[in-house]
């Protein structure tokens, strides 16, 4: 299969209980295949290892047994990550932040201008992040994540703690940016509405050690409205089947 193969034999997390250290198992024989061009949502309760999974895939966390294999077409350099907080560099302007991962490239200015236009922040190209609103900062972070033209994009609850309207705009922006080159997206969330609205496929994770409870492909056409009949009936179906 072309795409992306995640196989984690085990991943522990040291946990201090009183004086003795206990090892907490996060993943055991966790196996996941993601075909190219898929937008996958990972849905699960908080603390079930969603962020750990992304960190392992991103290469930030190497303390695990197992392997991540990439299809020939995907190189490790082509992974991008959008964190929960925007994590912009406060000493760089909006444009410089977007250009940060691609400074060496020749058409770096062209890419960043293009992205600034798409996220509607052309006017704020030279503003520092501290002067911009939370929603604007996330848009810049989103643009930075797409600037490398990634083949795999990891998103860790990127639209959390924003009001619904802005989060909705950002989701639309994400879909429109994704549609250009269709990178693999692994989107972590604990908001079922968001997961249904965005993804091709939803993965439901259990509590620790994380197991896949349900692997569901969504065939509803985009754009999906949250209160449309198809979405709300799917939501009812999914939450019922996960509970059982």
């Amino acid at each position: 299969m072309t795409g992306f193969n995640i196989n984690i034999r085990d991943k522990m997390f040291p946990l201090k209980v009183g004086n003795n250290e206990k090892k907490n198992v996060i993943f055991k024989n966790f196996d996941l295949k993601i075909p190219t061009g898929e937008l996958l949502c990972i849905f699960g309760p908080s603390g079930c290892g969603k962020t750990t999974l992304l960190n392992i895939v991103a290469g930030l966390d190497n303390k695990f047994n197992g392997f991540i294999t990439y299809n020939k077409k995907i190189s490790e350099e082509k992974i991008s990550y959008l964190f929960q907080a925007p994590r912009l560099f406060p000493w760089l302007t909006a444009q410089e932040n977007i250009e940060f991962p691609i400074k060496k490239e020749k058409n770096c200015k062209k890419i960043s201008n293009n992205l600034l236009e798409k996220i509607g922040l052309k006017k704020f190209a030279n503003s520092f992040p501290n002067k911009l609103s939370g929603g604007m900062q996330r848009r810049i972070a989103l643009a930075r994540a797409f600037s490398t033209n990634p083949e795999v994009l990891l998103l860790d609850e990127p639209f959390i703690s924003l009001d619904n309207k802005i989060a909705d705009q950002l989701r639309k922006l994400l879909i429109s940016l994704w549609k250009q080159k269709k990178p693999i997206i692994i989107f972590v969330t604990h908001d079922l509405n968001e997961a249904i609205q965005l993804s091709d496929r939803i993965l439901f994770l259990s509590n620790l050690p994380a197991k896949i409870l349900l692997d569901y492909k969504i065939h509803i056409k985009r754009p999906r409205k949250i209160n449309s009949a198809a979405v709300s009936s799917l939501k009812r179906l999914l939450s019922a089947s996960v509970r059982s």
Partner: protein
């Protein structure tokens, strides 16, 4: 009509004082006036000469060796300043990033912070002789611990989450230091530089007084033995002026440039 005019004049003065540069200038003039009054009422030229006689003294010494001695002292200040900044920052960053190192050397650091400048100076002169190397070494050793402490705190405050961003985009270790860690340390570097300059030039003067045969400190010792207070004040004022110029024309603009994003 007259009252209106008066009000306008008053308003003009107030307007003038709104400019912060003018306010600073006015404050210096007030200080000089206070000094002038005290010296006038004291009426003792040997104890506290008037601003005018100090100005005359400055004019006289300028035609003599004033600028030679100041340039000597300034070069000692710069040499020990840069040495202390480089060594102190390196140790501070290392201690900030490595907990084990921090545990081992924290005690040394507290010791270094508390050794009186005079002790290091005298020991350096005894061990290494009355020479330039001993002089600069003594000042540098005095300053390193304060730079280290400031930079250690700065390094501890570095945001690891931003370093992760660098790792995601496969930046080399060197690039991460240069492009992600260093910009976060700039405010601390500026603060270390500022307090460093103020401390170092005072220590350099003591070093010169104790063991050098040129420089501002040496001259002040000479004037002390001749009870020449006007010359002491003349040298001090000109030298302080140089240090302030460095602060205004070098450190301040650098600070604005490095931290304008705040």
């Amino acid at each position: 009509m007259e009252t209106v005019k008066k009000e306008n004049k008053f308003f003009g003065l107030k307007d003038l004082l709104r400019n912060d540069l003018i306010r600073r200038l006015v404050s210096i003039i007030i200080l000089t006036l206070i000094w002038g009054f005290i010296s006038y009422f004291l009426n003792d030229k040997d104890m506290l000469p008037s601003p005018i006689s100090v100005a005359e003294s400055i004019a006289y010494h300028s035609s003599q060796e004033l600028f030679f001695h100041i340039s000597i002292t300034l070069s000692r200040v710069f040499a020990s300043f840069f040495l202390a900044m480089i060594i102190g920052s390196a140790i501070g960053i290392a201690m900030g990033r490595n907990k084990i190192l921090d545990d081992y050397f924290d005690g040394w650091l507290i010791l270094g912070l508390n050794i009186p400048a005079l002790v290091t100076i005298i020991l350096c002169f005894i061990w290494f002789g009355l020479n330039e190397v001993a002089a600069i070494l003594a000042v540098t050793i005095n300053k390193i611990p304060t730079v280290t402490v400031i930079l250690r705190e700065g390094t501890k405050a570095v945001d690891e989450k931003l370093i992760d961003v660098g790792k995601i985009y496969k930046l080399s270790k060197l690039k991460i230091i240069k492009e992600i860690i260093l910009p976060q340390l700039y405010p601390y570097l500026v603060s270390a530089a500022r307090s460093g300059l103020a401390l170092i030039w005072k220590i350099v003067l003591v070093v010169e007084l104790l063991g050098r045969s040129n420089g501002v400190g040496f001259k002040i010792n000479e004037f002390f033995s001749m009870f020449d207070i006007a010359s002491i004040l003349a040298y001090t004022i000109v030298f302080v002026f140089f240090i302030m110029a460095i602060e205004w024309f070098f450190i301040k603009p650098l600070e604005t440039k490095l931290t304008n994003w705040r």
